[in-house]
């Protein structure tokens, strides 16, 4: 089932939660609604589910208008952040609830309900806990039971509101993988809400980035990461280094920092956005860039060495005036950068924002590679 959202507005008192939101959710895909708190993502999900009604606009499932349809008739599965299991019912009773709630004519016989419940228990790998009460389960187990409960009636649409938000990191990772498999096996059209960009990028087929009641950008995770449309999306999808300055004759400068931007005609204020992996560190300035930075901290944890640097003689925008550059462990062992050392950032790919609401222009200094690569030399 495809889900179409058209011109949805929602207001809570003075607060505009959703501002003319339109969206297409493709069939059989796992879509993430990503955004900071108060971006309207949960409200949108609840409107799609029918738990909340929009002030104006339309929701359609496979072209059929369901705006006026009650949530109980929409045949969706909904998973809550805090599980919302019925605490006076056992795990098995919880899972059976949806089937037992069907109108008498559609309700399967008891034996069939029991069979389906044990199937689902098998699927969530908790058949031994069938007779337990929710209070006796861990968070991860509760969420799996909640998932099994929501898909017991075989809905075509699965909606998840921050499903892993209340779980700790390890369990979250397991459940993420498990949800992905579940989705691939059953081919729901799924939407999940999250504020965790890593979760969104890792898990979904399509990411919808939201901010302040607006959809900022919709794209596949890889495309979204490669080509963010706006400053907001850039900022939200992880660490970014910014050089804000005056653009004149194809050169962006601020203080004693300077970057040449080949093929850029624009004059005036501009910001250059650089991701940690799009920058190298050198001991001498490159031909196209002079970005002196002093090393503040070096973190060796993870697959990459993270170096935090403070601009020297100029200032960065946001992120506490800190730049972050990722280098490989091999590079680190070669050059041993240490706190207090002076380095020059050498951008390889950058994203230039000029106007207020314009899309960024991607700048590549590929030719820099044809020069002998400036390496860190001690």
């Amino acid at each position: 089932m495809t889900i179409t959202v058209d011109g949805i507005n929602k207001r809570f008192g003075q607060f505009q939660a959703l501002n003319n939101v339109s969206l297409n959710i493709p069939e059989g895909k796992l879509t993430a609604l990503l955004g900071p708190s108060d971006s309207g993502k949960t409200t949108l999900l609840r409107i799609i589910a029918g738990l909340e009604s929009a002030d104006s606009g339309q929701v359609a499932f496979s072209g059929k208008d369901v705006t006026k349809l009650h949530v109980r008739d929409r045949n969706i599965g909904f998973v809550f952040q805090h599980y919302a299991l019925f605490r006076h019912m056992t795990v098995a009773q919880n899972i059976a609830f949806g089937l037992e709630s069907l109108p008498r004519k559609q309700r399967p016989p008891k034996s069939e309900i029991q069979k389906r419940v044990s199937e689902l228990l098998e699927m969530i790998q908790l058949p031994h806990l069938a007779q337990r009460f929710p209070a006796q389960l861990s968070g991860g187990q509760k969420q799996r039971v909640a998932l099994a409960r929501s898909i017991a009636t075989r809905p075509k649409i699965l909606l998840l509101d921050e499903p892993f938000g209340a779980l700790d990191a390890k369990v979250r990772k397991d459940l993420r993988r498990w949800l992905r498999n579940l989705h691939d096996e059953f081919h729901f059209t799924s939407i999940f809400v999250t504020h965790d960009q890593e979760e969104a990028l890792e898990l979904s087929d399509q990411v919808v980035v939201m901010s302040q009641g607006n959809v900022e950008q919709v794209n596949e995770p890889t495309e979204l990461y490669a080509r963010p449309d706006s400053r907001f999306v850039f900022d939200f999808l992880g660490q970014v280094n910014v050089l804000s300055g005056e653009l004149k004759h194809g050169s962006l400068s601020q203080g004693n920092a300077r970057v040449t931007l080949p093929g850029i005609q624009h004059q005036g204020n501009a910001q250059l956005y650089l991701r940690p992996h799009e920058v190298r560190l050198a001991t001498v300035p490159a031909e196209h860039a002079n970005l002196p930075l002093r090393i503040e901290a070096v973190s060796l944890i993870g697959s990459e060495v993270r170096v935090e640097l403070r601009p020297e003689g100029w200032a960065s925008e946001g992120s506490d005036n800190i730049w972050e550059v990722g280098i490989s462990h091999a590079e680190f062992n070669d050059q041993r950068p240490a706190r207090g050392d002076l380095r020059y950032a050498v951008p390889e790919v950058g994203h230039l924002f000029t106007g207020k609401d314009t899309q960024p222009e991607t700048v590549s200094w590929a030719e820099a590679d044809s020069f002998p690569r400036v390496r860190l030399i001690n």
């Binding site: 949530v71 909904f78 809550f80 949806g98 709630s101």
Partner: protein
């Protein structure tokens, strides 16, 4: 290391290891518990002991004779039936009232919330007189009801009305907080699974509510068993028909027969205690099962 030893010594100095007193964070446990126990003894236990002592002066035959007097037995029946009807009525109406007060916003909500406590605040005799006046044959309600052929004042029905009035807050005030704490997600989850409103109430809301509701009804019942002030004005107090047990106690006191009064009182006391204990035990077991504690 030596610093650690020093620190240990300091701690030992500040918290002498006598008993596990050092583990308590809040001070004053001994004092507050002492005062509480003293108060409970003076206000609750001592009078009850007096009652038991008064009764124990009787022989069992005397005791049995007093408490099985036909007129007294008739009063047990009237009282128990009326209290049961009143508490059941309160169970339904109190639940409804609590539901309205928690779930909906409307003008005057706070006023109604305050009025619920009125039966606690009002002297019960006042309530009895007011009810008797209202339900009397020429009263505001009574004249309408008598047109329909229903007599309330000076009949057992009047007793039910008075008992229901004085014990309503028990149900409302026990159910209200539980209702307030019900997570809206539970209902949303049930509805998203396709449950009808009636089913949501029956299978999700009511099971969460009913331990509290039962407690409220039981409190309402035990309170009604002993209700005196409000009841006697409206009951009519006809022997074998509309005499309540608390009136029988009063009658024995009027006759200066303290032992008999105590004997009857001890029956009421015993029934109330057994009921409250049973409910508490049952509830603890139920919650233990559900909470997994």
């Amino acid at each position: 290391m030596s610093t650690a030893n020093q620190a240990g010594a300091v701690i030992q100095q500040r918290w002498p290891r006598t008993g596990n007193r050092s583990k308590r964070v809040l001070p004053g446990f001994g004092l507050s518990l002492g005062i509480s126990l003293l108060f409970i003894s003076l206000i609750l236990m001592l009078p009850l002991t007096g009652l038991v002592m008064e009764v124990s002066a009787m022989s069992f035959d005397q005791f049995w004779f007093v408490i099985t007097d036909p007129r007294v037995v008739a009063s047990y029946k009237v009282t128990a039936l009326a209290a049961l009807s009143a508490s059941l009525f309160n169970g339904v109406f109190g639940l409804l009232l609590a539901w309205v007060l928690v779930r909906y916003e409307f003008p005057g909500k706070r006023l109604i919330d305050a009025v619920v406590d009125l039966p606690f605040a009002l002297p019960t005799a006042v309530a009895g007189i007011v009810l008797a006046t209202l339900f009397a044959e020429n009263g505001w309600y009574g004249q309408w009801l008598s047109n329909l052929g229903i007599e309330v004042a000076f009949t057992p029905v009047g007793i039910v009305v008075a008992m229901a009035f004085t014990s309503l807050p028990f149900v409302v005030r026990t159910v209200q907080p539980v209702l307030e704490e019900l997570a809206p997600e539970d209902e949303e989850a049930a509805v998203s699974l396709g449950a009808s409103d009636a089913l949501v109430f029956r299978r999700v809301i009511f099971p969460a509510l009913w331990p509290a509701l039962l407690t409220g009804v039981a409190l309402s019942f035990t309170r009604s068993l002993g209700e005196f002030g409000a009841v006697i004005f409206i009951a009519g107090n006809m022997p074998y028909v509309s005499e309540v047990t608390s009136l029988m106690i009063f009658v024995r006191l009027q006759e200066y027969d303290y032992a008999a009064a105590s004997a009857i009182a001890s029956v009421v006391l015993l029934v109330s205690l057994v009921m409250l204990f049973a409910i508490t035990l049952w509830q603890a077991r139920y919650l233990k099962r559900v909470e997994g504690r």
